[in-house]
Symmetry: C2
Subunit: 241 residues, 2 copies
DNA sequence: GGGGAGAGATGCCGC
DNA sequence: GCGGCATTTCTCCCC
């Protein structure tokens, strides 16, 4: 066991310090909990956050290879192993070489502000349902039912309730199943068959479209609010900064 | 603009170096692409991986606050800004203070080995369907249909096909919708109504259970292969290492 | 805390 | 590449 004891002691001293720890190390990882995993030795980035969330990243790829959130952890007394535990879950990181160990106290009180979600698309349709079909009048949005919540509900002026399910990217089989669940539930609770269903999305898979028409539902091409164009415009007007 | 120029130059020198870069900085982030986000200044961990995947982490929490995978990036010539681009997506990180900048060449050829997934659960049931219901005989597993793929298909000895949908964690409304899609599709393609549906999971939500029984389907309590117990056992027999 | 559904989902596999 | 779907999903919102 090579193990740089100096850095292991440093790491041990950081237990419960509430610091952000960045560890670059050759390590092996074992996880057991909801599932179980083994990862043989390799060079990795280990992040221990100030809330004791642990992330283990390989040198490539988007997602952490192992992780554990808001856990308790400690360095083993005898072996170069970091043990982490959270409820019934366990994570063991065996450290073969430590290339770098740094700790920080970081302050970040800001929350991210994200726009351009499906909710924005429902709001757009609720505000102006005629972009979906002439004659539609808004009734409700985000209405809760026992079978889930309905993005937008309208009337069509021909004595029908119209249930709209939005997808900001693409509609698929599960989208159609979801719409069907709502339509049937509303038909049941209102005791009427005058309930129509519409999927609004920029695209739909062919199988989903087949299922949609089998059920007498309708697809309507709707693009979500396009923030990218706004961004492009502002970039242009600002030049290259 | 405070900006430690020395570190900005170091960062610039790392463009296209193929190194893993760990940057601890006070920064603001702007993203535009599939959606759009703004994040005001705060202390964060910025990771640039060897495949030019960028992750930005707050000092707490599990998920990255912003990210971009396999992008191209560069440091602005005039401002302390890291520009990243991937297709039609943009990410700008404005660096107000750099607390730490380190780069590494990391080597990791290992792949994670994960067990205890839903697939393991279907395999278990396919190998021994009588744990679900006496008399069941396996027919197929992971069978592809136009309406999705069916986890396990069996016969029940009473001239019925039995379609089993497994969930490793919990079954919900969409699970029941999924099962229903398969049952109806098989009924249609076989031209018979002798098709039953069973959801196998360790738990099911109350609304899903109601919908399940409305459709004449059945819930069967099945726990996924319990690897945790195995882990506990091995830990015990090894003592404290 | 449970239930339901979206996500800048991501990642995997199959056709 | 698209399609379908699981994920140690995670996260948010609502009841």
């Amino acid at each position: 066991m090579v193990g740089k004891l100096k850095e292991l002691n440093e790491l041990k001293a950081l237990e419960n310090s509430g610091k952000t720890i960045i560890l670059i190390a050759n390590c092996a990882v074992r996880y057991s909990g909801r599932a179980e995993s083994i990862l043989a030795a390799g060079d990795r980035i280990v992040i221990i956050k100030q809330d004791n969330t642990i992330l283990i990243h390989k040198p490539t790829g988007n997602s952490p290879v192992n992780y554990m959130k808001e856990c308790s952890w400690q360095v083993d007394g005898n072996k170069p192993v970091l043990h982490a535990k959270s409820g019934k879950e366990f994570l063991d990181i065996t450290l073969y070489k430590i290339y770098s160990l740094k700790s920080f106290v970081l302050e970040d009180n800001q929350k991210i502000n994200l726009v351009g979600t499906e909710r924005d698309m429902s709001d757009m349709i609720y505000a102006n349902p005629e972009i979906v079909e002439p004659g539609l009048k808004p009734v409700s949005t985000e209405e809760q039912t026992q079978y889930g919540f309905i993005d937008v509900m309208c009337t069509d002026g021909k004595n029908n309730l119209v249930i709209i399910e939005c997808k900001r990217y693409g509609a698929d089989l599960s989208t159609v199943s979801q719409l069907r669940r709502y339509v049937e539930k509303v038909q049941e609770s209102k005791g009427t068959t005058n309930v129509r269903g519409i999927v609004c999305a920029p695209k739909i898979t062919s199988n989903a479209e087949a299922m949609l028409s089998n059920w007498g539902f309708k697809f309507c091409f709707v693009r979500p609010p396009n923030y990218l164009e706004e961004y492009d415009k502002s970039q242009m007007s600002l030049g290259n900064y």
